[in-house]
């Protein structure tokens, strides 16, 4: 063990951290990459960057070492008496179902969904209140008219009305064995409400799809920013586009040169490797369209509209049903192992076995991402994932 730390911890964070890549794009992902929690594309990009960046390799080593050291900190075990204390404190009655325990959440941020939930809850409460008043009014009317008349016509049995006897009889009857009962209401107006909201949402999404092409870049950008905001992601921002073309092979042949003309850079091309990915995107990439490909581009933000416009000239584009972040996460680990590929000189597609992992000894990886340093350093670019498939009939 030859590690050491400085004697005194600094009180404030130093303004400059030595030995750290100044690009700022990948460091935010190094920890997640080390833990295997990056999206497939992002993990692949990080690996490519690590092959080129000695500083980030060193950062990765440091993260791993500190993580290992921290795991060794936890060696405390509770005293044996604690278990006896816990068991003695338990109530004698078994935990009863039906009592909902609500825990306070004092130290966390307010959920962004809280206000809509509160609004929905208060709306439902008002509906319930109106419904109750209405029902009471109806019941009151019934009691004063028809209900009494009917009751008068029903002959009473001898044991009815004797509440005490009925209760005694009930107590003598052994209770039935407890079993799980699933209650399904025949008609639930709130389900209808939820269905209606869902249908409206789907209709709005379909309309969005139809309108795609008018101001799509800015909308895509807004979507990507929303995803980034929700997930607290820093740059690079990811966005996903599905592109259906008549001839995949022809498009693929020209993709690298085409991307360069548009000011973008093709950094990854491959195939989604899992059914999960297909399911997540809703695209028939693997099962129905074996030629489909997934392509990742670096696109400088200022060239985004032109890039998307150029994409539209290649085929039909649409926003992925799920944000690209979700899409990529859905296939974590599986895409990464097969996404590596290269375009052959004749324009064909050749898969490259097993993604190369940047060795920590500093040796460059076999394949590396060739993104421009200027893009990486400015941070003003997007990772656009394009799912390439054949045009649907």
């Amino acid at each position: 063990m030859n590690r050491s730390y400085p004697e005194n911890l600094p009180e404030k964070s130093p303004s400059r951290r030595p030995n750290v890549c100044r690009g700022g794009l990948f460091q935010a992902n190094l920890k997640a990459y080390l833990d295997g929690e990056t999206s497939a594309i992002r993990g692949w990009l990080v690996r490519g960057h690590l092959a080129q960046c000695a500083e980030c390799r060193e950062e990765l080593r440091w993260l791993r070492r500190l993580g290992e050291d921290m795991k060794e900190l936890e060696s405390t075990r509770p005293r044996p008496e604690l278990r006896a204390r816990i068991l003695a404190s338990l109530p004698t009655t078994p935990p009863a179902p039906g009592i909902r325990v609500v825990y306070s959440r004092p130290d966390r941020e307010r959920s962004p969904l809280l206000m809509p939930r509160l609004a929905l809850a208060s709306g439902l409460a008002m509906l319930l209140a109106f419904g109750t008043v209405f029902a009471l009014k109806r019941a009151s009317n019934a009691t004063t008219s028809g209900a009494v008349g009917v009751a008068k016509n029903v002959p009473l049995k001898p044991d009815q009305g004797k509440v005490g006897e009925a209760l005694a009889a009930a107590q003598e009857t052994p209770p039935a064995a407890m079993e799980m009962v699933t209650y399904t209401p025949a008609k639930d107006p709130f389900n209808d409400l939820a269905d209606k909201m869902f249908r409206e949402k789907m209709a709005a999404r379909a309309e969005e799809q139809r309108l795609l092409g008018q101001d799509d870049w800015h909308r895509l950008l807004a979507q990507a920013r929303e995803v980034a905001h929700k997930t607290n992601m820093t740059t690079p921002t990811e966005m996903g586009v599905a592109l259906a073309v008549p001839d995949i092979a022809a498009v693929k042949t020209h993709l690298p040169g085409w991307a360069k003309q548009k000011g973008a850079e093709l950094v990854a091309i491959g195939k989604p490797a899992s059914e999960t990915a297909d399911h997540a995107t809703g695209l028939p990439l693997r099962t129905e369209d074996p030629r489909a490909n997934m392509v990742a581009f670096y696109v400088p933000a200022q060239r985004g509209p032109a890039f998307l416009g150029a994409l539209k000239q290649l085929g039909q584009i649409s926003i992925l049903p799920l944000p690209s972040h979700s899409f990529v996460s859905a296939a974590t680990g599986q895409i990464a192992s097969s996404v590596q590929a290269e375009i052959k000189a004749d324009g064909g597609f050749k898969a490259v076995p097993s993604a190369p992992v940047a060795s920590e000894s500093g040796a460059p990886a076999e394949h590396s991402v060739t993104a421009s340093e200027k893009h990486l350093k400015t941070g003003r670019y997007l990772v656009v994932t394009v799912l390439l498939s054949t045009t649907h009939d």
Binding site: S13, N19, R85
Partner: protein
């Protein structure tokens, strides 16, 4: 423990089987205790909080529907109690520096560790305790308790992306605090 095992265990506890609850303690007592110790910084308080947590778990197991893994649910309950403890203690707590010193001494006095390990652990420990509560929570749950990002997110009721960014920022802060670690240390690989 598989989902089916968990469900059966919960059903046995709900039926009043004390031995089943002891099985649950076998699996989670140490982990919950360590978590509580992280938040309380004292063994008596950690024991009290652990007892409260398991009492709450027992009482509310009747409402456990199996929508999440049992472990995730237990961590959620435990985190709520730990955060509540922290919130209450803030009102009349020790200054931050004293807290750090107390915790650091606890670890330094562990007789099992060698002198090097003691020094190393003390510095890492002190650095962890210098983190903000939000950063410290994710470090404790992920690095020390071994929860996945998804489980940490469920325990803290935040998005997974938030866990990622907090962890990344926490490690950046640790790097600042332990600045010489990489330069002076020898590679482990």
């Amino acid at each position: 423990m598989t989902t089916r095992d968990e469900r059966q265990l919960v059903q046995r506890i709900q039926a009043g089987n004390r031995e089943a609850f002891e099985e649950l303690l076998d699996s989670y007592e140490t982990r919950v205790y360590r978590l509580a110790l992280r938040f309380t910084d004292s063994i008596p308080d950690a024991e009290d909080v652990t007892q409260e947590i398991f009492l709450a778990i027992y009482k509310s197991l009747g409402n456990f529907r199996g929508n999440s893994a049992l472990g995730t649910w237990i961590y959620r309950v435990a985190m709520n109690h730990c955060l509540e403890f922290r919130r209450k203690r803030r009102l009349d707590t020790l200054p931050l520096d004293e807290e750090i010193a107390l915790v650091s001494q606890d670890w330094r006095h562990d007789p099992v560790k060698s002198a090097d390990r003691q020094e190393l652990a003390a510095k890492v420990e002190a650095a962890i305790n210098c983190l903000s509560p939000l950063h410290r929570d994710v470090i404790v749950l992920h690095e020390l308790q071994g929860l996945t990002y998804q489980e940490v997110a469920a325990a803290l009721d935040v998005p997974v992306g938030t866990v990622k960014s907090r962890l990344s920022n926490a490690f950046r802060r640790l790097r600042d605090l332990l600045g010489g670690y990489v330069h002076e240390g020898s590679p482990t690989t």
